[in-house]
Symmetry: C2
Subunit: 212 residues, 2 copies
């Protein structure tokens, strides 16, 4: 990167910029296939300079995950807790926001990928990934609880999030957004149409509880 002005700016990038650039790369190429050089290049820095902001690659990744989690809390999950709106409207708003993030090339579905990629192989990230999905569950469950009992709401939440994550994978694999979009549309229809009846409450349901 060249600067033609007489004085170089002191600070070329800030912490947030590095996190965002790292996020983009981690999403696109996965954690293990992204090098610190790659991230530095994307920021217009030298690799060594990254260590001024982050003590290690692992630490950077944790910051990235937390940033995404926080983003989802503030821009997606929060729709679930807007008590002024009816359940189906809250779900619709949440899905609309989720789609925007999930199908966005920039932000993308880092956590979904991480969930699979790092579940067993990189236990240092596992608890962060768990926390994200527990928040996801809780948000959807809260919406369903307005219409159904606690148990059914819990089941429906797990099921809905599973459907979303699965179809999101297909959207990626087949490079076709309609998988996710059809899924959210279907889930929305479910809550709009069915007033009382819900998923067959199979006896073996257990509460979604953190184990970590």
């Amino acid at each position: 990167m060249l600067y033609f002005c007489a004085v170089m700016p002191k600070q070329k990038v800030d912490e947030q910029t590095i996190i965002i650039e790292a996020l983009k790369l981690f999403r696109k190429k996965s954690y293990f296939n992204t090098s610190m050089s790659d991230i530095a290049d994307a920021c217009g820095l030298q690799k060594g300079s990254l260590y001024h902001y982050f003590p290690s690659k692992e630490d950077l990744m944790k910051r990235v995950i937390k940033t995404v989690h926080e983003y989802f809390k503030n821009n997606v999950f929060h729709h679930a807790y807007d008590k002024n709106l009816p359940p189906h409207k809250r779900l619709e708003n949440l899905f609309r926001a989720a789609e925007k993030v999930f199908l966005d090339e920039e932000k993308g579905n880092l956590l979904g990928n991480m969930g699979v990629e790092t579940a067993l192989m990189a236990p240092e990230f596992n608890s962060l990934v768990q926390r994200f999905f527990l928040d996801f569950f809780h948000a959807i469950k809260t919406i369903y609880q307005d219409k159904y009992g606690d148990k059914i709401a819990n089941e429906l939440a797990e099921r809905s999030v599973a459907e979303i994550e699965g179809s999101l994978m297909f959207s990626r694999v087949f490079n076709d957004h309609s998988y996710l979009k059809n899924t959210t549309k279907r889930i929305l229809k479910r809550i709009e149409e069915k007033p009382a009846e819900a998923a067959g409450a199979n006896g073996a349901s257990r509460a979604t509880k953190a184990k970590h």
Copy 2:
């Protein structure tokens, strides 16, 4: 590895053994985080010796994917085409076989992981992953077609596979098999209970077609 007999056997391992050992490692640690040394160690070989069997790591991975795909065809998907049994029985058999493979530490859900991990970052594997899921879709769709029309069968198939893959991810992330087991149980109940009515056929449904 030590041999106490007087003569060392000529061949320590065969191609299939290497593929299985590689599969176990790829599943456990992902493709990029598994080195040729790791695989060689698991086989009791030197890493250079692997190149006697496979021209490259990428090629080995492709063989692994094809092996898993073939295994699913012969041991899981084939239940869908057993025309002597009623639909719900075929689905039950298929799920039972799938659970055994998915939740088995040895074989595991390589393709599900690969689907996410390599969708964009490792395009060399993408078409293989696509083919696997198209076969998965087709198997489930064939079962539903016995009860529902083509369009609804297609929708239900995509939805079921998405639910399975999503809950499978949760089973991994939370180290809890019940996510997947509850999902298969729920899907089975769906086909047993509902004779005619099915998913709300939202107009925007498109056929599952290969794009690659």
